[in-house]
């Protein structure tokens, strides 16, 4: 469920678009027809964003770090540099 919503909606992009629309409205002097289209888009984005905020949790995945490689690497360098 969470992943599904994730794929559908890029939160950052959607939020930025909503902000752009809001800024556009804040500028005043708006064309009624264009305004109506943007208004509808804004409401749609807001609804999606809020839905997305409700449904998802964070997920922690542990990744493997190859320490051995690095430590060997480190030692090898040390050896080669030694006089």
């Amino acid at each position: 469920m969470a992943m599904k919503t994730d794929k559908k909606l890029d939160f950052g992009e959607a939020f930025a678009e909503l902000e752009t629309i809001t800024d556009w409205f804040d500028k005043g002097e708006i064309d009624l027809e264009e305004g109506l289209a943007k208004f509808e888009r804004g409401l749609e984005l807001a609804a999606k964003l809020k839905a997305r905020l409700k449904t998802v949790e964070n997920k922690v995945e542990e990744i493997k770090v190859k320490f051995s490689d690095l430590i060997e690497d480190d030692d090898n360098k040390g050896d080669s540099d030694r006089v």
Partner: protein, 429 residues
Amino acid sequence: MREENGLVVYDVSEFIQYLNDTLSAIVDPARVAVEGEVSSFNISQGKWVRFDLKDADGLMNCFLTTYQLRVDLEDGMKVRVYGTPKIYPKYGKLSITVSRIELVGEGAQRRAYELMKKRLFEEGLFAPERKRGIPRFPRRIGLIASRESAACGDFLRILGNRWSGVVVDLAHVQVQGEPAAPQIVAAFRAVNARAEPPDVIVLTRGGGSLEDLAAFNDERVARAIFGSRVPVVVGVGHERDETIADFVADLRASTPTNAAELVVPDRREIVYAIDSSVSRLSKTMDSRIAQTDSELDRSVSRLETHIRRAVHRIQAAIAGFRGAFREFAANAVSREKEVRVMTTRLESGSGRWLRKIDERIAVATRVLATLDPKAVLRRGYSIVTDRQGRVVREAAGVDIGAALNIQLHRGTLTAEVLGADKSQGTLPI
């Protein structure tokens, strides 16, 4: 090396080799350290490090490469040197080939920290212009921390309180002790190399002493942060703790909790922002519609006014026309009457006038007949006129000898005045 009569004879270089073998056999660099004060510290060609390690009565020459030098040294610092004593064949000089240097005491550590900070600052690792921005809504966060640490727990807890939908790639490392620095460096490498690299990397641990935080003051870690392709947030310890890692980080968090606050927004703030966006949109839209409404009303009322005015004008014109026509009709009727009266009067008057004129002409004819001078002439009277044809009525004014015409009833005489009695008024002709 050769034996002569129970005597072992070495060439010089062989002897040095023999001594070096013996020294390395008796000094285990993992178990033996020499403690002393640094003096005559020197780096040549940016690669070779030489200094003397001394105490009140002794001095040992030390040698290593800059790569092995992981702390910043200067004369007067107290250090512990790990390494192998070795004679250099060329000069016959004994020196310790250093594999590791440990700072002794808080003073030396602070000093080394200050020196490194200054050096890295000068190199530009802390430059504000290279700091990168953190995306506002990260989808994936690389977390380099110790899995069991309170710092890791705090970070994840606050992250969850504030935001959701984030995938955290946790790279578990030791954050303390000798392996910490290389593990952190490896973790940076691993996180950066992922097929889907995170939007931001968070390196965090709790507070501690200068020694506890050694990995975060390690130059290798500093360079790993500097070299990371993904922007890095460092949150170490308490607010008062400062580490080299903090300075190199793209964004410095004061604590692990603060790191979570910096990398994700607060859900409530975003909900508020969305709600306020919606209400601003609605308000603007409402007022725009109201504006259009009133514009429409105004237009309609202006149209009405215009139409009303036009209607009034037309009505006034019609009324004017009607009045004028009525007047015209009335005039026409009265004129017709007048004409009729006049005609009647003319018709009735004309007969009377004609009769009167006839009578008057008859009378005048009679009068004229009585007044005709020729009738008088017939009765014997004459009319005397002068040469100019003027009727002569008195003697005065007529000269003797003047010619006069005398008109008779029949014919005319021309006479000459012979004398005149002007008093009696008779002319003797």
